[in-house]
Amino acid sequence: MQNFDFTNFHSLRFFKSTMWRSLPSLVSSAVRSQNAVNTRFSSTMKQFFDDEANFGKAELRPKHRPGRSWTAEELRLKSNSDLHKLWYVCLKERNMLITMKKAHTSRARNMPNPERLDRVHETMDRIESVVHERNDAVFRLETGESAAPRKRTITSFAGFTYQKQATEHFAPPQLGQKEYETPYLDDDAYVMQKLWQEKEFMKNRDRLDDEKRRAARTEDMDRFKRGAPRVFNR
């Protein structure tokens, strides 16, 4: 497979004109036409695709159905090299699943058990977070800084103060270019903030009011289209 990359989705357009059941044979024919070498559809190639028994099924057999994803607690017990291996296992699996999903979508079929993809994604996210935790601990111990990119608090022209990720530059900032947190707002920003707070307050007040009125409605009112009982002498 010198130049033929199965992860590339463009190779899938060879499938278009054939029936679904003949997928592997089609792939092998594609390989043959590309390389002009009579190679068989080898086991290495098969790793890019799902098991042949699963092709065209509505749902996998119970034995082959996916379990749950790895939890962060389980992953924390593993060594770094184990996590590294698991990451690549997941990466291969994800690649395979995305290939299969694309193939199924192109012929308007449903992929069997698409939740496999979600499980793999969850696992990979968790591996990443666990590795980040370890990285962070080392960074804090050795440099005192977090492994996450540094954040600076800045105030916008309209007076909003928020966290912004610091970015790298070749040179230190020019005079007046650097953004700061400015506690004492100028007149425009101050008025803007006052009006904004007033608006937020009124929105919140209306929301609470709506909630209260909705909670006060009984089933009868919806059913018989009746309003609330009028109490004049409250």
Partner: protein
């Protein structure tokens, strides 16, 4: 009840009502809003700056454009009534030009005048129109003894009079409060003078002059780390603080842990090293509460279970 000022006679001598003037109330409210936010950068500012800043906020500005009442009550002999006098400060508009000069607390004041006052109303209607009153400014060259420099600045007559009253520019700048100087330039001058006094970087060649300056301004010397924060506005101070935080690298945790371990070893409170040193010491054991009571029945069952699973 409006009374003409010329008819008023003080009833009580020199006893004014203690009030928080509107400008002070506004200052307090504005800064209270800022300091209420616990995540704001202002709480990370140095303690001496915060103290000085709040002293400035809570101090009264010297009256410039108005005369405060000298007593609480006055009698109007024309209307034959007693009225209570109020203090309503006239505070002008702050200008960028004022920040560059020494205006001695003067500002641009907005007032209202009658348009066409001497024309017949039949001919031309009269309106109240706004008018800005500008201070009379002049450019002068002032000499600073501490800095040994001649400074060309825009001043008002009031500022010149104040300088004379304080016997020199240096004393005027150093003795006046920041709120009365009322200009960024004057505040930066104050900071520079204080820094020069602290580091004694004046008259390096002339020893006699140096000793003279040192003795003359001995009362104004403050620590250098405080002097460099003098006269900074809140935003400038916040910017300075953030720059300082950005330029200092955080301390690695390993040094902190090392220190704490050393301290624990010195005090003899480190548990692990104690256990290693004397293994005969009383061991910590887990509680056997209930084992005495139900152990007779439960232990054989547990043993059976364990052997079955193994």
């Amino acid at each position: 009840m409006a009374s003409l000022a010329k008819n008023l006679k003080n009833v009580t001598p020199n006893v004014r009502r203690a009030v928080v003037t509107w400008d002070k109330a506004e200052r307090i409210q504005r800064n209270e809003e800022i300091f209420k936010n616990s995540e704001s950068v202002v709480h990370r500012l140095p303690e001496h700056y915060k103290t000085r800043y709040w002293e400035t906020i809570l101090s009264d500005k010297t009256p410039v454009h108005y005369r405060p009442p000298t007593s609480r009550f006055a009698h109007d002999s024309f209307k034959n009534v007693e009225i209570e006098l109020e203090e309503n400060p006239i505070i002008g508009i702050r200008t960028p030009e004022g920040d560059d000069g020494l205006w001695g607390g003067e500002r641009v004041v907005k007032g209202w005048i009658e348009s066409a006052p001497y024309t017949k109303k039949k001919i031309l209607p009269r309106y109240w129109v706004p008018k800005l009153f500008f201070p009379a400014l002049k450019n002068v060259v002032l000499y600073s003894e501490i800095l040994d420099k001649y400074i060309k600045v825009t001043v008002t007559e009031r500022a010149m009079r104040l300088i004379d009253e304080h016997f020199g520019l240096d004393y005027y700048i150093l003795e006046s409060k920041e709120i009365d100087l009322d200009s960024k330039f004057a505040n930066s001058l104050k900071r520079e003078m204080l820094l020069t006094l602290t580091t004694e970087s004046y008259y390096e060649e002339n020893d006699e002059k140096k000793a003279y300056i040192k003795e003359k301004y001995a009362d104004f010397v403050i620590p250098e780390r405080e002097a460099e924060w003098i006269g900074l506005e809140l935003n400038e101070a916040a910017r300075k603080q953030q720059d300082m935080e950005d330029s200092t690298a955080p301390e690695p945790l390993k040094y902190k842990f090392e220190q704490s371990l050393l301290e624990r070893l010195r005090d003899g409170t480190d548990e692990i090293s104690q256990e290693l040193e004397n293994p005969e010491a009383p061991m910590k054991t887990e509680s056997k509460f209930g084992d005495k009571m139900f152990g007779k029945y439960l232990n054989p069952i547990g043993k059976k279970l364990r052997s079955a699973t193994n």
